[in-house]
Each structure stands twice: as structure tokens, then as C-alpha cells.
């Protein structure tokens, strides 16, 4: 197994994690027009919740779900009690999310300390699986599988259910959706909590690979930002494609141009911005 195969597998895995992170980010931006700068914090908070739950002796998957739920609750509270007060003042919302992200980061540092915490791979993911003659770490396969399953579930939710229809209606035209009797503000809370929960869940399942450390939020937020600008906001397909593009760019960039990994990452985003400002699959213009 050569270097490039390993890189490609890592890229797909990172892409899967990024999809979990950015699907919520993209929906929140598409629906509420908030570039939610706490999204990286949600990822980190979820990871830390997971660490605590694992420390209490929880099963890995239960810890992941529990952390996801906890972060979803946290997100719902933020939406309901802070962002709700600022409806329509988009800029104020950005600044509040920025302030909150600093508070969350510092609170995590206070609570869990500054040392990186490594998380053991759950027993089911230990070892390698042979796939088409290539040995692939099983845990990475599981992450990819989870990302695919969640992508399908989200697509079903958005495309096939009444709730999804309401969300799509509110993304396209919030005022008209309101007139039709859709409680758009309830959708805001639901979508914000859903996005936060997905990010928190991703934080836990990503922990065995990325480990958990202060600054994880600042590492993940720009990636989510690039995914959404690249793929277009409010579009699941955009997040999916964007996530894998970013996953590949990040991993290959780090090996080929170690000093310029960040530039390699942001360059395609800038090109897309200049050529097609709404992103590859965007429903909403920035």
C-alpha cells in the first residue's frame, strides 16, 4: 500500500467528517442567514462531552449520540435565548456567535485543560479490512459509512418529509413561508439544534483520528467555511461535494506543499468566489 492510497483514504474520511460538520452549517446559513461561527465550537464541545461520557464508562457509540444530543440542546438554547432576540440583525448575530465561540473555547480550556486528549478507537473499528486488495483501517471505513448513511437520512428528511418541505420553503422564501402558516422561527430552532447536534456527533466520532485539543474549533471552522463557500450554502449536495474536495485538498496539500497547505486549501474557494459567487450548488447567494 503506497503513500497515495493512504492519503486518498484519509481524504475521504476527512471529507466524511467535514460533511457531518458542514451539512448543519450550510443549512443554518441557508435558512437563517447566519454564518454560525460557533460551529467549530460545537464540534469541539461535542468531542469534549464525548471524552467525559467515555470517562464515565459509556460505550463509544452511546457517548457519541449523547454528546450529539447534549450539543443539540446547547444549540437550541443559544438559538432560542440569544439569536432569537436579534432576528433580522444579521451582523449582530455574527458577532454574537463569534463572542460565544470565544467563551466556549475558554470554558473548554478551563474544564478539560490544555493537554490534547486522545480517544481510543472503539473495538469494532480496530484493525484493517481488505477491500479490493487494499488494507483499509476499519474505523475509517465506519466513518465513511456513517457519513453516507447520514447524508441519505438528511436527504430523505429534506426531500421526502413534511418538515423538509417546510425547511426548503423557508430557505427559498422565508416571508412567503410565514404567510403560508409555517412557523419559521420553530424551524430555526430545529435546524440550529440539528446542525449543532451533527457537529457535536462528528466531534466524537472524529476524536479517535483527530484527538481532542484546545484550538480544534479554530481548526475546523475555516474548513467548514470553505466547504460551504465552495459548495454553496443551503444545499446538501454542495456540502457533500465541497467536503470531499476540501478533504482531498487538505490531505494532499499538506504532503505536497507542507508550508502552503492553507493556501492550497483556500485557493479553489477564491476561484469559485470569483467565477461563481453563489458556490457550485448554491441555492442562496452569499
Amino acid at each position: 500500500m503506497n503513500l497515495w492510497t493512504i492519503l486518498a483514504i484519509n481524504s475521504v474520511t476527512l471529507g466524511g467528517l467535514l460533511f457531518l460538520l458542514s451539512a448543519g452549517f450550510s443549512l443554518i446559513f441557508g435558512l437563517m442567514r447566519i454564518p454560525n461561527l460557533t460551529h467549530g465550537s460545537m464540534f469541539m464541545l461535542g468531542a469534549y462531552f464525548g471524552v467525559t461520557l467515555l470517562g464515565l464508562g459509556c460505550n463509544f457509540w452511546i457517548a457519541a449520540l449523547g454528546a450529539g444530543l447534549g450539543v443539540a440542546l446547547f444549540g437550541a438554547l443559544i438559538e432560542r435565548f440569544i439569536l432569537r432576540r436579534l432576528v433580522g440583525a444579521e451582523l449582530a448575530q455574527v458577532l454574537v456567535t463569534l463572542g460565544l465561540s470565544f467563551m466556549v473555547a475558554d470554558a473548554c480550556l478551563m474544564q478539560w485543560g490544555g493537554d490534547p486528549i486522545s480517544v481510543d478507537t472503539p473495538p469494532i473499528g480496530i484493525g484493517a479490512t481488505h477491500l479490493l486488495g487494499v488494507a483499509v483501517p476499519t474505523y475509517r471505513l465506519i466513518i465513511i459509512l456513517i457519513a453516507v448513511v447520514i447524508a441519505v437520512v438528511l436527504w430523505g428528511l429534506l426531500d421526502k418529509t413534511r418538515l423538509g418541505a417546510m425547511i426548503r420553503a423557508a430557505v427559498d422564501d422565508p416571508a412567503m413561508a410565514r404567510v403560508c402558516g409555517i412557523r419559521v422561527s420553530h424551524l430555526f430552532t430545529i435546524v440550529f439544534a440539528l446542525g449543532a447536534g451533527l457537529a457535536g456527533f462528528a466531534g466524537v466520532i472524529g476524536a479517535p483520528i483527530l484527538s481532542v485539543y484546545p484550538g480544534l474549533d479554530q481548526d475546523m471552522l475555516p474548513l467548514a467555511l470553505v466547504v460551504v463557500i465552495l459548495g454553496g450554502s443551503g444545499s446538501l449536495l454542495g456540502s457533500l461535494v465541497g467536503s470531499f474536495v476540501v478533504g482531498f485538498l487538505y490531505n494532499f496539500g499538506q504532503v505536497i506543499f507542507p508550508e502552503l497547505a492553507y493556501v492550497v486549501l483556500f485557493l479553489p474557494m477564491l476561484i469559485v468566489l470569483v467565477v461563481r459567487p453563489r458556490g457550485l450548488f448554491g441555492r442562496v447567494t452569499l
Binding site: 433580522g88 449582530a92 497547505a261 492553507y262 452569499l286
Partner: protein, 325 residues
């Protein structure tokens, strides 16, 4: 009365080293002035042009890194100053071309991304920026033969630059260009109809803002004799933005008050608690939620609200304007 007040203020500022005494506090005063220059420059963009940027620390940092590199290469202070400003203006122009593809939220997101690129370069491009260790210069340079080694001397030099900045801002606000910039903020469509080139006006405002960030960056490097990726981090951009917003956007003295507030708070807070970032975040949230128009007008409004128990119409600011529309 206004002139007398100005004169008293000037005298007070000029004599700070005499009545403050301790060189530690003189240095704090220098820091306040440096950040006030940065905040005044940022205010052109955030306050007058209505373009909120979260990548400004990147511009500030480019000036720091450019100056440090030039100084270490052994150039004299004129070349250092010109080089740092030119490098910053070049980067500012790139920022502006890319970020001005969008306004409002898109603009914010693009500036965040651009600021992170600068951070990534500062952190990763080790052969150029020495990575996390940062770049230090050995001695505080003597620009134009002035010895700036003592705290009061540096303070006075900074004060001169600061007053120059303030003077330029007064001229800018009163000038037709200043009016045009405010016009593109309030009524871009009408400005287009009147024959103004909105994009170009914003672009020039961006450059103007970048120029003062470069000056502040240069002073910061002379003051600290060290620059590291921390200087260009997102939290540094947020701090600068907090200065502008806390003091009151689109006012001349708001950013100065904001800079003083943030620097003093940071100094005081870090003496008692370790959690400056938490405090910064909390202040951010509180100000935005309760005093969106800035501390000075905000406290006046809250006071009147308490007195009269009647909600008054809020003065226009970046935040309230959006809420009203």
C-alpha cells in the same frame, strides 16, 4: 468651549509621561494609541463604509512581518516604512478585490477566510515567517535618528503619529470622499444612480483603512520588537472589531475610547483572571445584545431608558441600521 476642551485633551495627552510616572503605565498608554490608530483605520471600513471585516488583523500582521523581515535584512527605517506600507497595501488590494465580490454576510465570511489564510501562512510558511516562534528584531530602531528606547520617547513618537491619524480622519470625514463612502453604505443604489462608482469607492475606502492598519502594525512592531502568528489570529481581528463596536461605529472618538477600554480591560483582566478570551467573548455578547450602538451612546440610552421608562429611537449604527431595515 470645544476648542478649550480639545486643547486640554491635547495637553493631557502630551503630558501623560509626567503625571503617570511609572514606565509600565506609559507603555500601556502607547499601546492604547497604537490600537486606537488600528481602530480608527478599521472604523473607516466598519463604520463609514458599513463593511464589517473580520480579517483586519491579517493586514496589521502583514505590516508587522514585512517590517520585521526588512529590518532583519538590515535596511534603514525609511525603506522599512515604505516597504511595510507597500506590502500591506498590496495585500489589502487583494483582500478588497476578493471580498468586495460580496457585501453583508458574504463579505464577513470572505474576510474571515482571507484572515485565516494570512494566519496559515504566518503559522506554516516557516522559511518566511519562522512559524510559531515568530520573528523578533533585536533593537528598537531609531527612525530618522530619533532614539525611541525609553518609554516616554516612544510614547511621544506614537502620539505624534496618532494625532496625524486623527487629523487625517477628521479631514476624511468632512471630505467629499468621506461623504461618498457613507453614501455607499446607506444607499448604494442611489449612489450608482448619481454616477458614483460604488465598487471603486469601497475599494478606495478599503485601501485607506489598510494604510492606517499598516501604520499601526509598524508601530506595534517597533513597540513589541516581536511578531508571531498570535498577532494575526481571528481573535485579534475580533478584538479590533470589538474596539470599534464597543466605542461606537462611525464616530471619531468611539474607536479611541474602544481601544482604551479593550487595552485597559485586557490589562486589568489578565492581572486578576487568566480567562481574557472568556471575558472578551462575554463583553462581545453583552454589547451586541444590549448596546448595539456602542458603549457611549448605549449607556446614555440605557440611562434615559431607566429615567423615562420609555424606549427611545436608537441612533443609527451598523447594527441597529440592519435591524430597522
Amino acid at each position: 468651549v470645544k476648542r478649550v476642551a480639545l486643547l486640554i485633551g491635547l495637553v493631557a495627552l502630551a503630558t501623560v509621561p509626567f503625571w503617570v510616572g511609572n514606565s509600565y503605565y506609559i507603555n500601556i498608554s502607547s499601546q492604547i494609541l497604537i490600537y486606537a490608530i488600528l481602530a480608527l483605520g478599521l472604523n473607516v471600513l466598519v463604520g463609514y463604509a458599513g463593511l464589517v471585516t473580520l480579517g483586519h488583523a491579517g493586514l496589521f500582521g502583514v505590516a508587522c512581518y514585512a517590517a520585521a523581515t526588512l529590518i532583519n535584512a538590515g535596511h534603514n527605517s525609511i525603506i522599512v516604512a515604505i516597504g511595510a506600507v507597500a506590502a500591506t497595501l498590496a495585500v489589502t488590494a487583494m483582500f478588497a478585490v476578493l471580498a468586495l465580490r460580496a457585501t453583508g454576510l458574504g463579505f464577513v465570511m470572505i474576510t474571515v477566510a482571507l484572515g485565516q489564510i494570512v494566519w496559515g501562512i504566518a503559522y506554516r510558511w516557516i522559511s518566511l515567517t519562522n512559524g510559531d516562534n515568530g520573528v523578533s528584531i533585536n533593537v528598537r530602531p531609531h527612525p530618522f535618528g530619533l532614539a525611541l528606547d525609553s518609554a516616554p520617547a516612544f510614547y511621544w513618537a506614537t502620539l505624534v503619529v496618532f494625532l496625524l491619524t486623527l487629523g487625517c480622519m477628521v479631514i476624511f470625514v468632512a471630505s467629499p470622499f468621506g461623504a461618498a463612502v457613507r453614501g455607499t453604505r446607506d444607499q448604494p443604489r442611489r449612489m450608482t444612480a448619481l454616477g458614483y462608482n460604488v465598487w471603486l469607492t469601497r475599494f478606495l475606502a478599503f485601501l485607506f483603512s489598510g494604510f492606517w492598519s499598516a501604520i499601526a502594525g509598524l508601530l506595534y512592531l517597533y513597540y513589541n520588537q516581536f511578531v508571531s502568528p498570535q498577532t494575526v489570529a481571528l481573535s485579534a481581528s475580533a478584538e479590533a472589531l470589538l474596539m470599534v463596536i464597543a466605542g461606537g461605529t462611525a464616530t471619531l472618538f468611539g474607536p479611541i475610547a474602544g481601544a482604551a477600554l479593550v487595552v485597559i480591560m485586557k490589562d486589568v483582566a489578565s492581572a486578576y483572571i487568566e480567562r481574557w478570551n472568556f471575558v472578551l467573548g462575554a463583553i462581545f455578547v453583552l454589547i451586541v445584545v444590549f448596546m448595539p450602538e456602542g458603549l457611549a451612546p448605549g449607556s446614555v440610552r440605557l440611562w434615559r431608558f431607566v429615567m423615562a421608562r420609555r424606549q427611545r429611537r436608537l441612533p443609527a449604527s451598523v447594527l441597529t441600521r440592519e435591524r430597522q431595515s
